[in-house]
Symmetry: C2
DNA sequence: CGACGAATTGAACCTATTCAAAGGGTGTGG
DNA sequence: CCACACCCTTTGAATAGGTTCAATTCGTCG
């Protein structure tokens, strides 16, 4: 029972063509927005979505392009990024099953605010902005849910602004590790494993620093026994320890 | 016709008791959320709001307190801030007439995400979270508008994350000056005057830096003829020049 | 096993912070 | 109406935290 691959990460990817009707209904039903809708309505909504499969590093939508569609992650991991002229990109969020992205602004001639890149093989449900707008008009409770989600994201974003403004790289990375382990953590032998292929570069782009600095901090955390990490994966061992670093400065 | 005060700032503050019914209806009608509602509904909604007057530096709500109310700025300027243990606070936004803050999360036992402090004498309309929730349920288009607003703010917040992560202090301050002049700018003799009492400390808290660094950058901008500035006020002279600095690094 | 890409580590450099002191506008009280 | 005190602002010099560039090591996959 020897494991050939040292990387403990294992994302259960549904092959694009395996996003069956049943699976799609299940996913839509799990999405916070549609949770309470009767199956009849879910089935109708389902017909409005078209599914697409994407490979790792494939771009789903480009920041700046006309925002014609809205997407829901059916399976896999999608990175929301924003570019800079200096080439130093920023990783805003990593999305998973049931999460929404794309054109949330219901206005006319808007553009996508972020670039969305697949981090793993993923299945995505897409819908025209108009159709989605129609859903919102037809099912007011859905709008409330979307508002809730957006509001929560706004608060996380503002929290991140606070951290970028006031905390050290060390604290920010500690915080990010805790967030990711809460969102993607699975208990494994190596610790609370973050089920996302996560490079030092990704971490750096989330923390607003360089891969080298991220690496230094991670080495330090590893020496202190707070985490366990290898190439493209991270597991949290001592949550309390990281939490302490979080606001230490 | 000699001006006693050197500061060119002049915020037209409505005295709290001057927020008459007519004025309140006008303000509510101007707020993006209620813009298209018929007067009858506006009058009803108006009865749900209670008005309060606040003095400069007075706190409207504390981050962390139970989020029972939602507020709309009727008149004046309200700062949205977030604290850090290190004492270095972050200034998230400056709100003006018609803007919303407080408990946007429609969930149960939530707390205010930000502390709201009056920057000038202000008049604020407040409403119970429950009542507001009822408005949203009764008038679905209002929910859509609130969603739009929230979504726009989310994108601004993410843009700020990008800047904090990738740009220099100089670029960030240039960007903030442009944003503020777009939002609060009035053409005056001194240039495009930002109609907000704005200290170096405020600027620093918006840019995620120290008052000293902000001061250095501002001096530099002034020498370069890009801005005009004094104690607690700033006017933009050369927008194009600032724009160039914005993404220069 | 070999090769590629990721991660680590070191050293020089630089931006921004910190601490300290001096200068200047604003408003208050005599 | 002037003078004083307060606070904001400016500027300087030393320091620290983070970046950059480069070289090396290590892990993973073909």
């Amino acid at each position: 029972m020897v494991q050939r691959r040292k990387s403990p990460i294992e994302i259960e990817t549904t092959e694009p063509h395996l996003c069956s009707i049943d699976r799609r209904l299940e996913i839509l039903g799990q999405a916070p927005f549609f949770k309470d809708l009767p199956e009849k309505d879910l089935r109708y909504i389902n017909t409005l979505f078209k599914e697409i499969g994407v490979q790792p590093d494939e771009v789903v939508c480009f920041s700046g392009d006309p925002a014609e569609r809205l997407f829901i992650v059916a399976d896999g991991r999608i990175k929301l990024t924003r570019h800079t002229l200096s080439g130093r990109d920023v990783l805003l969020d990593i999305l998973s099953t049931g999460e929404i992205f794309g054109s949330l602004s219901l206005l006319g001639d808007q553009t996508y605010p972020d670039t969305a890149i697949a981090q793993t093989q993923s299945c995505i449900l897409q819908i025209g902005a108009d159709d989605f707008h129609r859903i919102l008009e037809k099912y007011p409770p859905v709008t409330l849910r979307v508002l809730e989600t957006t509001s929560t994201r706004l608060h996380s974003a503002q929290e991140r602004i606070r951290q970028l403004s006031a905390l050290s790289v060390e604290s920010r990375i500690a915080h990010i590790l805790l967030l990711l382990s809460k969102k993607f953590g699975k208990v494994e032998k190596v610790g609370m494993l973050i089920q996302v292929p996560l490079s030092r570069e990704d971490l750096a782009a989330m923390a607003g620093t360089t891969p080298e600095s991220a690496s230094r901090v991670m080495s330090q955390f590893q020496k202190a026994g707070l985490i366990n990490s290898g190439r493209q994966w991270v597991a949290v061992i001592d949550q309390a320890g990281l939490l302490q670093i979080t606001e230490s400065e």
